[in-house]
Symmetry: C3
Subunit: 313 residues, 3 copies
């Protein structure tokens, strides 16, 4: 594999899931594969799970991780073509990406959306600029519109915990006070579309995700109906997509409760705001998979790095 | 050993000191013990010595250290039970600690006190939350009320430099312009109580430490009397304990001078403000042990990590 | 070699260049040399290339790099002698340098000039304080007046790309909106003075560099004349040296264009502001060496670290 920028870079999700499970059983089996190779982790935004799990994944493969918070450790990066750089940005992505490629065998990048400029965000200009100007493989650690390491993690976790061949999986919107990206929801939808699951999305009217991503997936505005007989309830807030980046709904009735959840397993990418997105009883209860999801982030990242390392010349 | 959160986790300080000295002689003797193990260093506050010495200790044991400045690299952590998280904190310690435990074999935490809420500080809610919600061992890199890595260091340093079997050790308060924690002083008191030393604490009236910690240790408000025949003078400022966290005294007469010190060895955990806490002549003189103390931080941390690694299943 | 603080620490630049080229061909040939040795990288200022390339160099030699952003990760450092430290600085360089020396076998430091206090900057008080108070070798990762890792890189790059025995090398000032240091230009001048090249410096009148550094090197205020038959054009902005640290000239006519450059190779230390310092057509054209320069940063740093490691007792 060259880059891992989208869940669509996965050809056969079932075989990836099996490979990830094998890595999880023997995480140090490929300790020599990444020897003398560096992974550059570039953060334009905050990170906890991704920061730690991707480093752990690299270490499991014998790689040397080098972490950099782009704005805190260096300076503003310019992405515009032809810009006269007399403002706040000190280095163009053309140089930055090419230069980091001199020191790192793989570059992993986190760059969140503006949530104010839909066109810019959907163009994935940061991630795509790295792909364009770097000379080494790029891994998406959450971009403007996708979080494919998380979605691979989620697919692994569902596969591990499924009690039936074709489980029912529900993606539910939940309320939040801040404007959050669509990336996790988008990639989760795309992952579920590749899996053999009965998939339903539920959210308030007017809170639809990008129709190009949703495609033929079922949407039900009635959360209670959507949750019926669910095996997995995956919860995530996102800001409005139509009135882009706005918080138009904070209806607490959409919060996930133990009662609503029933016997379904609860999933969330974390961080999660307790008693706003989901009540304590769910997270503290036996049906929560969130910590195991977090654990699986290591093996999703490790699988991606392994596949890239195997194809490095 | 499971956790190292307090100097009271040391059963036999004499045997620990001997073990630390052996490590110092041969710091790479256990290079395989930590192989393929990660140490997560989580900093809620600034750090120089602890940051570097704990990493060095981990490297000496073959571990991979992963450093994270919690607020800068990630986001605010919520510690309250049952909180509706619609404020500034984005992740609950219940998730944060459990998640970091998925990537790190040992978690080391630095979290200073509020110095405004005595009850909260004395509850050690940050450190104890990590112990409660993490599934791996926790090491205290200075908490609200204790700094046991420093105190172990100090015990080692006194043992190395003692010229008689039962040296006289004085802990002296010194003036500072900012409100400082009681953690270093507290743990030092507790360490000295475990050692075979003649121990005296001196500070201005009204500046007593927590009486539960001081216990039967001798307190003398007269610094000159206290220093008489001292072999070691350990200096540290702390803010007022009774009128909690206030700076009620900055009397320069309490500053440590070469004259006051006499032949005693000078100790301080560092950082130290020159000519406020102690005059240049002391730090630049032959009786200062502060750099050797800093050196011993590595072996104190290494001993703690070694003991924890040996007990990891 | 003990320290590497200035380009003058290089005895024979030709032999260094040959050694660096050999390292570039086989960067892992000395992987055991730095085993169980730590390199502390202390940043008082932002960094991208230096941060990553110096870590990469250390890893290539088997060292463990430990990175610290001094102000963000720790606190303000005091450099004044005899200061009563009742202000914003919390630790004196005497302690800081001696303490870091306990954990790191080599310390690399980046500390930019004030650009307001010429005398202080020219005294190199930060770098020299580390040399004075640390007990381990110091590497200059760009100080107030010099950037010798960059200059060594530049010498290697010119040697690699020279088509004739004595190429013509021009150092040209170019406009910038912010006050930039003289360090890169200074060290480049010093490196060229050691090389067998036809060297010319060009800048607007009144924008001379330190005459003590320029020495007998040719200066031509006419950029067009200076560029005639140039093989290498090295571009760098610097703020005014006489009216110290001021930006008195932003004349866009000094910007580097493809037309001006002709067949000469373009060099710049990066980061570079596009269409302010140099037009896109140059950086995107075939004559730009900037990415290869960045690549060579690794081998310059690795050579310096190797020479220091070989002389460590």
């Amino acid at each position: 594999m060259k880059h891992y920028t989208s869940i669509n870079d996965i050809e056969n999700i079932q075989s990836w899931i099996q490979e990830a499970k094998a890595l999880k059983r023997n995480p140090l089996n490929y300790k020599d594969l990444g020897k003398n190779k560096t992974l550059g982790l570039l953060f334009f935004n905050s990170s906890l799970r991704t920061r730690l799990s991707t480093q752990k994944a690299a270490l499991n493969l014998g790689m040397d991780p080098i972490v950099m918070n782009v704005s805190g450790d260096a300076w503003g990066i310019e992405f515009g073509d032809g810009t006269i750089m007399n403002g706040n940005t000190a280095e163009h992505i053309k140089e930055a990406a090419a230069v980091v490629s001199q020191y790192c065998d793989i570059i992993a990048v986190r760059a969140f959306p503006t949530l104010t400029d839909k066109e810019k965000d959907e163009s994935e200009h940061v991630l795509k600029s790295f792909v364009k100007y770097a000379s080494v493989p790029i891994v998406n650690m959450e971009s403007a519109t996708g979080h494919p390491l998380q979605a691979l993690t989620d697919a692994i976790t569902i596969s591990e915990n499924a009690k039936k061949e074709r489980p029912k999986v529900v993606l539910s919107w939940a309320p939040h006070i801040k404007a959050l990206p669509h990336a996790v929801a988008n990639s989760f939808v795309q992952a579920m579309q590749k899996m053999d699951v009965d998939f339903v999305v539920t959210h308030p009217e007017g809170y639809n995700l990008n129709p190009d991503i949703i495609g033929n997936s079922t949407v039900n505005y009635n959360q209670e109906e959507a949750f019926k007989d669910a095996d997995f309830v995956y919860v995530k807030n996102w800001s409005n997509y139509n009135d882009y980046g706005k918080v138009l709904n904070t209806d607490p009735n959409w919060m996930i409760t133990k009662e609503k959840l029933g016997n379904a397993k609860f999933m969330h990418c974390l961080p999660v705001r307790r008693n706003l997105i989901v009540e304590d009883a769910v997270l503290d209860g036996e049906n929560s998979l969130v910590i195991e999801q977090a654990n699986n982030r290591t093996y999703a990242a490790q699988l991606v790095l392994k596949k890239i390392l195997e194809d490095l010349k």
